[in-house]
């Protein structure tokens, strides 16, 4: 295929030369070439020379965002949320990391604690031992269509490179509000009898391990009556991978109870690769089921998610959470992100807002977050 492309290029070069000859308009051939040629890489939207105009914003990224490494390999970025070293990043990108370490500006932190995570937003709260880190300025108003946005794109040990783009579409929920954890079944709603029955039990799922079968009717989940999909989603929406849900199930005449382990949606259900996916290069494994996102055209790589989304004024309007496809990148809006950070910090204990009421959760787990 490359060969064909090259053939075409040379062909068009010939046509260009021909055109200049045909026109004979008295414009210099240099002018004609400019009109009718290629723009150098450095002057393109994400070219080196263009990035220079964004330098004040790059400096904000340099000082108050983090690069997350596995050994020597950079795997994600992070938003610094407290001067004493709390930061947030994309949870699924650090899930299987062996040698987690972090750089903030020129400082290198080898001891990194994963404090808590939320699967609903795919965000992890990390802690490094630091003080006096510069904090980012927040802007909670969602940016309008066409607003310039700036993010970390790649990095050397000393300096950050940008990616620039604009806000592309309406902020919204993506993934139809489906829970990020699943039983691992396909469900059928019978509207007449108002019941929800199991169509197919997927292999390697919690439902399969627990012994659920095709045709089972789900009656209750954790004691809540289930009549339609939404009833079940409400219960699952607040759960983490590895949590259990107690299902009351009717099989024939009998009612039985099952404890089903919940697993990450993307690990149980394989997505069918669409034609648009095929032309997209690599995209984030977790790229859907977020309660609200801002959509941009930032050409981020999978490994440049997790960092702040800045405006031209250097203010943070969100955190990049997924590369969705060739032309869509999602970010958590700052209002939702700030709420989320407060929730995650609450579990820390000596966090900013100490919650007086005891939070019921397993040690090392994370707090319940609203759906």
């Amino acid at each position: 295929m490359m060969k064909k492309l090259k053939l075409k290029l040379s062909l068009e070069r010939k046509s260009r030369a021909l055109l200049v000859a045909l026109l004979g308009l008295g414009v210099s051939s240099v002018a004609a070439q400019q009109q009718y040629g290629q723009l150098e890489g450095e002057r393109r939207l994400n070219g080196k020379e263009t990035w220079k105009a964004f330098e004040p914003v790059r400096e904000v990224l340099q000082e108050s965002s983090a690069v997350i490494y596995d050994g020597w390999k950079s795997i994600a970025y992070g938003v610094v949320v407290s001067s004493d070293g709390y930061l947030v990043t994309k949870a699924s990108e650090i899930a299987e990391v062996k040698e987690l370490n972090v750089r903030i500006n020129r400082r290198h932190f080898k001891a990194v604690e994963v404090v808590s995570t939320t699967v609903e937003w795919d965000v992890a709260l990390l802690k490094v031992d630091a003080e006096g880190l510069p904090l980012i300025e927040w802007e909670e108003v969602e940016p309008a269509h066409g607003t310039w946005v700036v993010s970390n794109g790649s990095t050397t040990q000393r300096s950050r490179r940008l990616r620039v783009g604009i806000v592309s579409a309406n902020a919204r929920q993506v993934g139809g509000g489906r829970s990020p954890v699943v039983l691992g079944v396909s469900l059928k709603t019978d509207e007449e009898s108002e019941s929800l029955s199991i169509g197919k039990v997927h292999e390697d799922s919690g439902a399969d391990d627990a012994g659920l079968k095709t045709g089972d009717i789900i009656v209750e989940a954790d004691g809540n009556p289930v009549k339609e999909m939404e009833d079940l989603q409400k219960v699952l929406g607040a759960k983490q991978p590895g949590d259990q849900v107690k299902l009351k199930v009717r099989r024939g005449e009998e009612e039985r109870e099952y404890d089903v382990e919940l697993r990450k949606r993307e690990s149980v259900f394989e997505e069918e690769k669409t034609r648009n996916d095929a032309m997209s290069g690599r995209y984030s494994r977790r790229r859907s089921n977020f309660p609200r996102v801002v959509q941009t055209d930032l050409p981020l790589s999978v490994r440049s998610c997790g960092g702040p989304l800045l405006t031209l004024d250097g203010k943070c309007v969100g955190m990049n959470i997924a590369r969705a496809n060739r032309c869509e990148t999602y970010s958590i809006p700052s209002r939702e992100l700030l709420g989320l950070i407060r929730e995650l910090m609450r579990s820390v204990g000596d966090g900013v807002e100490k919650d007086e009421s005891p939070v019921e959760e397993p040690a090392g787990g994370s707090p319940e977050v609203k759906e």
Partner: protein, 340 residues
Amino acid sequence: MIRTFPHTGHLLGGMAALWGLTFAWIPAFGADEEQDESPYFNRKEVPEGIRDLKKIQEALQENLPRSRSATVSIDLGGGSGSGVIVSEEGLVLTAAHVSGGVGKKMTVIMEDGTRHAATSLGLVASTDAAMLRIDEEGSYPYVEVDKKDTAGLGDWVYALGHSGGFDKERGVGVRIGRLVRMADQTINSDCNLIGGDSGGPLFDMKGRLIGIHSRVGQTLEQNMHVPIREFMTHWEGMIENEFIGEGPFAQKGGVAFMGVGTELREEGGLLVKVVGEMSPAEKAGIKVGDVILEMDGEKVEAKDAFSAAIKDYKVGDKVKLRILRDDEEIEVEVELGEKK
């Protein structure tokens, strides 16, 4: 509905359009040039700081609401593209590989979800230009066309389109970029496009239509548009329902068809679930239970990519399928028929 690879090797087609181009190009150097002066930031090598960037943002945001209101999704039933309204009466410009022929019925969807029946007018099969008309009389939002073809290399531009099909919650998607390559029948920008954007509009920073999205290459910077001059050159012919030029973007003989229903197999390939009666597939001896692994040497990895690839062929073309049948790989040749 966007092609992953450009069709190549049409030397004569290229030459023919060259003459048309010279004709449309000359006025750009005429006396009106000053009136059409492009924004100051287009004359800079690159923006020189935050101020220039803000000017670009302001220009884009000033024109965006109107551009969005005139950008439509085109529902073809089983596929979709984009288009843009260019007259109050509802004339729509799109790509030839979206409209797919002359006199075809389709549905145009506005950003707010309003649907209008439309009929395709003429097209230019060699360069991917096409027109439709909304059937119902009315007063539709529309954009200005850069009739004088003033766009130049390096100009700041923005692309709109219903990427991946209509999505009311998301609305139409906008992407920014520059014109990075100009050639006789194609202009490239670094506004990133994807399937569903085909036929959608490319605007200059004054909100004037300068191109229609056609296809993408392997890299992010290969986003190709039909230049507006191609529409200007063939405007009358398209209005008169003419089928202009020959392939590759539309075929006179209709849409190519194989006649299999398939399902993605976990281990790869497509499992044949249904073979149409009297279909080209049946005539070639394809059976339910066969697994299609390759078509003309290209791996078959997704259902929608497979059916889109078939439509890229002409009626009567022969394709070679590599098929897994009873644990044995065989090769089958199918002569594609016409979709009724």
